[in-house]
Structures are given as structure tokens and as C-alpha cells.
Point group: C3
Chain length 468, copies 3
């Protein structure tokens, strides 16, 4: 493995990274100070008042008890799931986990503001509760996805800048879809996966590096980094039912969304294994597929999971998703790279982009096919919120709007990605040179020993110590 001889000065983060982190955190504090307060479920006086007004007899009827367990699972997916999934890179584990941690910690704060302005702004204040935390994690999820495309090729400052813009664009897109188009997308196939993936692919296309081949060896995994990555895979896979049900209506909708996601993911594993085997000359399985393509079923069932899609429908979605995703890793990603100059480090195109589109389409079809027989009269209205100005919508019309949602998300992603990609291309953000890509040595204190096996040696004061 090539050693890092050329430490170009421009990757010295000592001024830019602290400046961005401190300034932006101060900005968060000021904005939270001006705008953010607890909602009536989390405010002492507010809860007392709400209990009185709504005849709530017990403190245990607080929304906390019905949303927090799902929130915790989503939280694990964002920080451990995405963070460790990306540690497959043999020399970029610190950057994978660490920069994911950084972007998410900033992103959830900015998302609380952005989404708060759009959804819970009353009397000049953004009021937040546990649903706000879920929404912020969802929003940041789209940034984690985009990060997967540029992983290893950017500086932490670029990651933060992308987060700043992408959270804003996400919130705008989410508002258009959920509020203006009145679309349902509980698991975010459109708002999170389609948007996040095509945004990230556009950014990475703008940031194309013609000579990245020289670091081909560092773009792969080693035995134990593949096992670290499986930690991420499994926590994403296991907790996806919580992700897809976290913001659904209480009751049967949350219950059903969890079951449908569980089924889709199970089927997806089987077809991923099948195609990973059949596409290798000796039938051997490929860890990249097991780490990523097994999750495609969760993405593709995101929109429809809470709808009355029967369990066998979820199995079919998962069946298809595993195939599409694995075929993507084997054939589409190399094509994208060589023909379209899209260098997609984690293969997000195969896990989030294509399955996200599938999810949006399945959601549109399932919505259009909804009937009163299946949902019940009340149930149909409740499932799609056919109330107020939407009281006269028919399922078929809803299906049309769902499809429109895919188009809007795509458009927002491509246009937004182009703009943000252009911003990131500016030369003062400390991005690494080609030969320094995929190497933690650039932005992290890491020591290399004579056998070229990468390790960092510091004691608890953080002082480097040599290996004797």
C-alpha cells in the first residue's frame, strides 16, 4: 500500500475545522435561544395544562411512551448503523465512523431548526418533542446516505458544508411532499433515500477525480474491517422496522409497518445471497453484497409499509430489491464509474437510489389501489389523512400525487446536488489529493509501523508513542 509521502498543506484543518465547528455551534445556540422551546408534552407547565384540557388522567399517556422506543432504534441506525457500515474501508475507519458522527451531531441540530420552522412553528417559536427528534434523525439519514458516495474523498469541512445545505434542501423537499402534495412517505423511500442518494451521486459526479485509480488498493476492505462493517449492517437491518414505523399513525399503522418491513428485509437477504453467488464464477458470496444489498428491502418498502400492503406483497418487494441491488453492485456501479464518471464509494446507488425509486413507485401503486373494503371507511380516511382540504381525494388521485413526489424528490436532489457539488469544488475546503484519498492519515493522528499495518498509538493523554 502506498505510503502517504505528500501531505499537501491544504489538508491542514487546524484553522478551518475548528472555525466552522465553533462558529456553527454558536449559531445553533443563538437560533435555539431565539426559537426553540419544548412542546406541550415536554414542558412542565404545558403538560399540566394539556392534561387538564384534554382530560388526560395519567402521565403515562405522554407521547414519550409511544414514540421514544422507536426513536432510540432510529438513533442507533444513524450513528452505529451508518457509521459502522462504512468502516469496510481498510484505512478509513476513523473517518467513516468519526465524520458520520460529526455530520450527524451537527445535522440533527440544524434539522430541528429547519424542520421546526416548517412544521411546528407556533407563536414565533419552534416547539419540539420526541417526534422532532425522530424527524431530525430521518433528515440526517439522507446526509449519511450522500456521504456514502463521497466517503474518503472529502475533508470534514466539506462534509459539514454538505450537511448544512442538504438538511435545508431535505426540509424543503419534505415540506413540499408531505404538506403541499399531501403525500405519505413514512419510511422515507422518497424523502430520505431517493433524495439522499441522487443528491449524493450528483455531488460525487461534480467532484469526479480522473486519477482516483491509483488508490484502488485503499478502496477495499480487509478481513476484520468487513466484520466491523457487518455490525453496521445488522443494526440497520434489525431496527429498520422501527425506522419505517416511527412516524406512522398510532395503532395498526405502526404495527403493520413494522411487520411489512420485517418481511421485506427477510426476503431481500435470500435473493441477495442467491445473486451474489450466481454472479461469481465459483459461486462464492461477496461481503459487499451481504453488507449492503440485504438492506435494500427496507428502503423499497419504506413508503408502502404502513399501507395495507399484505405481507406477501412485502416479500415480493424484498425479493426484487435484493436482486436489483446485487446486480447494481456487480454491473451498474462499474458502469456508472467508467461511463458516467460517478465514483460511488459505498455503492449508495444500489442500496438507496434504485430501491428508493422502487419504494416510491410501490407506494404510489399501493396508494392508488387502496379501497374502503380493505381499509374500512374510517381506516381509509385515517391512513391517508383524507381530511380538511383533502377530504375529497380518491386513492387514485393520491397515487398520482405519490408519483409526483418521486419526481419532485429527484429534481430537488439533482439540482440541489449540482449546486452543492459546485460549492464543494471551491478550493479552500482542504480536500485531499488523489493519492491521499481513503486514508485516515490525512485528518487523524495515526501511526504507521514498518509492516505498513495501520495503527494509532496514543495513550490516554493523546500523546503519540512509538512502537518498540
Amino acid at each position: 500500500m502506498a505510503r502517504i509521502n505528500l501531505m499537501a498543506r491544504n489538508t491542514d484543518m487546524r484553522r478551518r475545522l475548528p472555525l466552522v465547528c465553533l462558529l456553527w455551534e454558536v449559531a445553533m445556540i443563538i437560533l435555539f435561544g431565539v426559537f426553540v422551546r419544548f412542546n406541550s408534552e415536554a414542558d412542565a407547565a404545558g403538560w399540566t395544562e394539556k392534561k387538564y384540557e384534554e382530560n388526560i388522567t395519567s402521565d403515562t399517556e405522554n407521547e414519550f411512551y409511544f414514540r421514544y422506543p422507536s426513536f432510540q432504534d432510529v438513533h442507533v441506525m444513524i450513528f452505529v448503523g451508518f457509521g459502522f457500515l462504512m468502516t469496510f474501508l481498510q484505512r478509513y475507519g476513523f473517518g467513516a465512523v468519526g465524520f458520520n458522527f460529526l455530520l450527524a451531531a451537527f445535522g440533527i441540530q440544524w434539522a430541528l431548526l429547519m424542520q421546526g420552522w416548517f412544521h411546528t412553528f407556533e407563536n414565533g417559536k419552534i416547539v419540539i418533542g420526541v417526534q422532532s427528534l425522530i424527524g431530525a434523525d430521518f433528515c440526517v439519514g439522507s446526509v449519511c446516505i450522500a456521504f456514502g458516495a463521497i466517503l474518503g474523498k472529502v475533508s470534514p469541512v466539506q462534509v459539514l458544508i454538505m450537511t448544512l445545505f442538504q438538511v435545508t434542501l431535505f426540509s424543503v423537499n419534505e415540506y413540499i411532499l408531505l404538506d403541499l402534495l399531501h403525500v405519505k412517505d413514512a419510511g422515507g423511500s422518497m424523502t430520505i433515500h431517493t433524495f439522499g442518494a441522487y443528491f449524493g451521486l450528483t455531488v460525487t459526479a461534480i467532484l469526479y477525480r480522473p486519477n482516483l485509480d491509483q488508490t484502488k488498493d485503499k478502496q477495499g476492505s480487509v478481513y476484520h474491517s468487513d466484520l466491523f462493517s457487518m455490525i453496521g449492517t445488522l443494526f440497520l437491518w434489525m431496527y429498520w422496522p422501527s425506522f419505517n414505523s416511527a412516524i406512522s399513525n398510532h395503532g395498526d399503522a405502526q404495527h403493520r409497518a413494522a411487520i411489512n418491513t420485517y418481511c421485506s428485509l427477510a426476503a431481500c437477504v435470500l435473493t441477495t445471497v442467491a445473486f451474489s453467488s450466481v454472479l461469481e464464477k465459483k459461486g462464492r458470496l461477496n461481503m459487499v453484497h451481504i453488507q449492503n444489498a440485504t438492506l435494500a428491502g427496507g428502503v423499497a418498502i419504506g413508503t408502502a409499509a404502513e399501507m395495507m400492503l399484505p405481507p406477501y406483497g412485502s416479500l415480493i418487494i424484498g425479493f426484487i430489491s435484493g436482486i436489483v441491488s446485487t446486480v447494481g453492485f456487480v454491473f451498474v456501479t462499474p458502469f456508472l464509474e467508467s461511463k458516467l464518471h460517478i465514483q460511488d464509494t459505498c455503492g449508495i446507488h444500489n442500496l438507496h437510489a434504485m430501491p428508493g425509486l422502487i419504494g416510491g413507485i410501490v407506494g404510489a401503486v399501493t396508494a392508488a389501489a387502496a379501497t374502503e373494503e380493505v381499509y374500512g371507511t374510517e381506516g381509509l380516511i385515517h391512513a391517508f389523512d383524507f381530511i380538511g382540504p383533502y377530504a375529497n381525494r380518491t386513492p387514485r388521485v393520491q397515487g398520482g400525487f405519490q408519483a409526483a413526489g418521486i419526481a419532485v424528490s429527484l429534481g430537488m436532489a439533482l439540482v440541489g446536488g449540482a449546486i452543492v457539488g459546485g460549492i464543494l469544488k471551491l478550493p479552500f475546503f482542504g480536500d485531499p489529493t488523489d493519492e491521499n484519498c481513503f486514508d485516515d492519515d490525512v485528518y487523524w493522528e495515526v501511526l504507521e509501523d514498518e509492516e505498513n499495518s495501520l495503527y494509532s498509538m496514543q495513550d490516554s493523554t493523546g500523546k503519540s508513542v512509538t512502537n518498540s
Copy 2:
């Protein structure tokens, strides 16, 4: 470490594995299409109707809220707990996590059908809800256990075949015990652990390999693989209270089962450490014991945890289990291997078989000793469902049936294991040759470098890249 020179053609999975995965997944889809629907807690129209009929005033009284958190913990135990526990093998981490993932993803689907036909079959349909998901995970748990005995010595096709049959046998056994004998076994000491372990031990006895000694070096762990394994150990240990309480009656039973399991596991750690130390000539601890024997208390308290076994009783059970399990690893497993030709890769005999028997016995005794003083009149009936045709059962009779449950589970395991072992012995399932056992190189794309340290080098397209 011996390199894999002889890649016998019969381990080429390229036809058989995809065929099995795809055919069986299509079969799942068809069967789910014909049979599986949501139950009234997860169905839109059904829930509306149920609320009306049972005067349920809030959507938050849906069963989802009272079972889903436990379900998520069980889910983590199956996929991360078992999956990573088995990564102690230095060169079989991919197979451990990956094949566990595969068998469980298929197993939960087949279990939803099998258990559904036995338990929730109404009007020609299997109706499922979150309890079905828990039950399916429980069933698959027994397969994960059996897999531990044959880990490293079988092909993924054999693993799937074993899953197919074992899920069926589990469901039959579970039906006999819970429905016909009317036995209580909330934590599955009999249905999951005793059955799963003796089934697996019988299978591995049938698949005995006289020359396996030549791969002795690969049957061990390395430093970091032992740490990966501890991830599995700890998630199993921490979430076991959820496992043993997941299907108990709401209220005090779930609450008590969690507490009893917590106590039993705590005591178990102390005696495991004690015996691991005393049985080594310099008193040093053995990671194999810490990874496995510390869990025996959870197995042994499985049946009785929800009963009115007082906390000190749980401590005693844990105390004993740690000793039995550790002594098992030190003395019994070698004996089983050399005298009875049972090659037990993970030592499931010590973690699941013996402690499972203990659990069944403790359950029988605790049931027989139940009194109205301790449970209350209502409480006694409620704890053992002494209703309907069982209204006249006494605790002593119940204890007798509990003991019968152990015998039935054992019998089902031994007979079933012999049959399935025979099926697995058929020569067209691609099992590895002796020298290829315990090596991921057979079924996974893995590269080996000059220092013989195993690593896989692929970029995100899955293409192999050489190490420069």
C-alpha cells in the same frame, strides 16, 4: 495455517445456493399469498372494528406498544447476539455472521407459516401480529443453536436444509408442549434450548468427521476475533431479560421474568469466572468460558423466570449454571468428542443442552411447588392458564406435565436430529472437505496475502483488488 490448495469442485455453490434461495423464497411468497394476513391489531379495518367491539378508546392500547420493545431485543439477540458470538473462529467470521443471517432470514418466514398454521389459523388464513414475529424469532433461535454445533463444517445449502426441517420440528414440538400438554415455557428452556441443542448435537454426530484434527489450528480464535465474539456475548446477556419475558402474560409476569433473568445471569458470571480460573493451572481466565458460560443462567431460568420463583432462587440457578457450563467446556466437550464422536464447534452442549435440561427441571419443580398463598387465587389460575379444560389441574399435575415436556423435547430432538442428519449426509449439498473446514475461503470471496493473514480486498463494486 494451511492454505486451501484443494478447492474440491463440489463446494461450488453457483448453481445450488441460488437455486435453493430463489425457489424457497418464491415458495414463501406463494404460501404467504395464499395464507398470511394481518391480525386485528395490525389490520386497518380490523383494528377499527376491534376498538369498537372491545370499547378500546385509544390507538395506543394496541398490542404493538406492549410487545414491540421486547421483540426488538429478541431480534438483536438472534442476528447480532448469535451472529457475532460465533465469530470467535479466526477464519470463519464471514460464515458465522453471514450464514446465521441467511438461516435466520429464511427461518423467520418459514416459522411464521409453521407456527401460524398451529396457533393463529382462522378461516383459512394465518393472521399475524407482533407476537408472531417474536415466536418466529424464538423458533429460529433453536436453529442458531444447532448451527453452533456444525459451524464451519457445512455448506450454506446444508444450513438452509437444516433450517427447513428444524423449524418444522420445532413448531410441532412447541405445539405438543404448549397446546397439548399445556406446559409453560416462556423462555424456551425446553422448546428452544433443550430441543435446539440436542437436535444440533445429533446432527453433528451423524456428520462426524474422523480427520477433522488436521484443521485444529483453524478451530481456534485470535485476539480480535475474541473481541468480536464478546459483542455477541454481551448483547445476548443484556437482552436476555427481554427474551424470557417476551411472551409472558402482561403485567407482573413480564416484570418478574425480567428480574429473575437479570439475577440468574449475574450470578452465572461470578461462578463462570471462578471455575474458569480454578480449572487453569495458573488461574488465568479463558475467553471461551466468558463468551459462553456466562450466558447459561439465562437458559436455565427460561421456564421458571415468569413463575413465582423468588430472586434468590434465580441466583441459585445462575450459580449452578455457570459451574455446569464451565466444567462442560473444560471436561465434557473433549469427552464428547473423543468418546462419543460429537464434534461440537461452539460447545452448545455446555451453553444450551445441559442448562436447557436444568431449565426444564427447575420449571417443573417450581410449577409443582406453586401455591395459592404465593400467587393469590386469581394469580395462580392466570399464571398457568388453569382455565377451560385445564381448570382442574393442580400445580403438582402441572409439574408432571412440565417434566413430560422435557422428555418430549428431547425425543423430538434426537429422532429429528437423526433424520435430518441423515438427509444432510447426502453427497450433493456441497459440504467442505476436512481440510477446508473452518475457512471462509470456500464459500466467500476472500484474498490471502503472503503473510497468510486473511483478508478480503474488494472495492464497492465487489471486484477483487490485489494488495500492492
Copy 3:
């Protein structure tokens, strides 16, 4: 890395460790047998009676459903969070995870007794329920913290002895603060972090080793051990909202505590990254900071999280904590080591001691500043339990008592630490010689190969096998 040539006889644990473990576990069984019973939420007859007396209509109103999800998260923080956080040491991963496991398994039992005698002792019995499990985990948390200071320098017997005494002192301190001073400390900034850290620092000062420098190389991490450590970091970080809300009043208090903790931790990450970068000559990040200082916000918000501290206040606390903690790692820990002879292996001073003090101060100020406008009349009384003998307390007086709580915790820690440190210094507990510190080879079966890379090779019987 120096090989362990000198295995001093006194580290042979073969008599002392089993003796301590078995004797103490038998003592636990006896004490539990005499004293411990289920409370009315976990007792069959008791729950039936309670439902009747309090007109509880459903089993799902059992306390289990409102506390167990938080308990599970706390449980993961204790066993996986602390356990893996300490695996950064390149050759002490087994001791880190394993001894943490051991001390916690014993500690929770002893804590159930100690805290039970203080808080839930009725009619000669200690009655336990899920809140007892949370309390016991909290208590053990303080021991995990102290263990971080002495990690690598003590024998498992010393660890158990420290646990025995520290749990007792913790319970006394907790009783003084929560019951006598009537202080609020839901997240334990004072009772867990301040107490645990200063106790541990005092112990390690007493156990000062002048020649520890010779093992400087083993006191550091290697690349993959830093990734294992991040598993611990992330589970602590993600689940801290549950930790800080686990014992708060139902309803808005739990809800608010989770939100405040989430905010504080997010801000903390940004300033940790900023200062880690700015304090390194090339602006590179230091894994030690990312692993530890990012958590300081959770510690510092512990007391005030459940109070009506607005979200921007939490951001400020987190902002400050990240800076204090990172600066601590860079400047304070070396100072403590060279000038005050405090060798703090994990840097607990920076993560728990200083942020714990911050937490106590913030809690005192936030309490003193409480008003009826902000809390509501009922809310204020409910938040601080201004009932019974405390009905006439004002927030300002409460603030004074909160500050007294810091002082008492500090005093208890320093005095208790000195005494226990003195006990641990007695020469018959098998502590390692200087050159054997930070090496698993002393207390664990581990093999070393010719390249000096540490690994343990055992098959599932625990027998050592050589590497061919």
C-alpha cells in the same frame, strides 16, 4: 512490544479469584434469601391486590411498560458502553470488557441489597422492581467509571474489592443526597459521575506506580482497538438520553430529560472536534478525544436535564463540556500524572470528574432559578417534590442544597477513595508488576506468536492450540 517474561507468582489467581467469587456469590444468595422479594408490580398476588386497591383496569398499566425500555438502554451502556469504550488498550481488551463484565455482574447484586436497604425496605424485606434494576445499574456505573482510572494496573480480585466498597459508599452518598438533602440528580452528575470519578482518581493516586513509564507502549491503542472502542462510545452517546431520563417523573420530565441530553451531546461533539483539531499541530483529530470527550455533554447535563432548562441551555452546557473535556485530555491529564502522581488510564478526570462538577453546578443554578411561571404551580412542586417536610422549600434553598450535594459527593469520594485505596494496597491481592501492567497475558489465557502480535488460540474446549 516487550514480551512478558516475568510472570511473578503473586498474580496467580487460582485460589484467590475463585474463592472471592464463590464466597461472595453465596453471600448474595443468602442475603437475597433473607431479604429480597418482588414488589407489588412484579409479585403475582401483590399485583392482583394492587390492581384492586388502586382501581387499575389493565395489566398494561404495570410500571414495567414505562421504565423497562429505558432500563434496557442503561443496561447496554454499563456492559457494552463502558466495556468496549475501555478496549482501546491494544493488549488489554479482554481485561477491559471482561473485568467490567465481572465487576458489574457482582455490583448489581450488591447494589440491589444496599440500595434496597436504604430505599425499599418494608416489613423486614427489600422489595424490588424494574426501578431497582435501574438504580443498581446506575450505582455500578460509578464503579465502571472508577475502574477506568485503574484499568490495566490491578488484579480482578482488587476490582471486586473496590466494587464491594464503592457500591456501599455510593448507596450511602445517594441516600444522603436524595433522601436527607432532598436533592434531585436524575442523571447522576453528582452521585454517579462526580462521586465515581473522584473516588477512582483518589484510588489510583494511592496506587501510584513510579516506574509505570516502562509500559508506555502498551498504554496506547492500535487501529482496530480504536474501532472497538468507538462501539462503546457510540452506545454510550446514543443511549444517554435514556440514562438521564430513566428515573425522572413520568410524563413531561422524562420527555424533557431525553431532549435536553440529546441536545447537549450534539453540541459537545462539535466543540470536541474543534478543540481536538486546533490543539494538534497539523489539525488532525485524535481518537481519544472522539471516544471520550464527545460524551462529556451527557455527564454535564445529568442533573439539570429533567429540569426546565431550555434546549439552548443544553446546547451551551454541551458546548462548554466538549471544550473542558478535550483540553483536559491534552493538558490536564499529563499535568495530573507528572505533578500530582495521578495515573488515570482512561482519562476519567476529563470525562466524568470535571463534567460531573459542571453538572452539579448547572443543576444547582437551574434549580435555584426555577419559577412558577416556567413550571406552573403544580409543575414546580412536582418537579422538586416540594411536598411533606419539604413543602416550604423555595427554589433558591433547593439550589443551595443541590450545591451541598456536590460537596458531599466530593467528600465521600475523596475520603472513601483514600480508605479503599489503602485497602487495595495490601500485598495479597495479586496485582501485576509494573512491566506486566496493561497486558492481558497476566490474567487471561492468551498466546503470542513470533511476530509479537497478540492472539489467543483455543478451540471450543478452551484447549490451547499452536499456530502452524
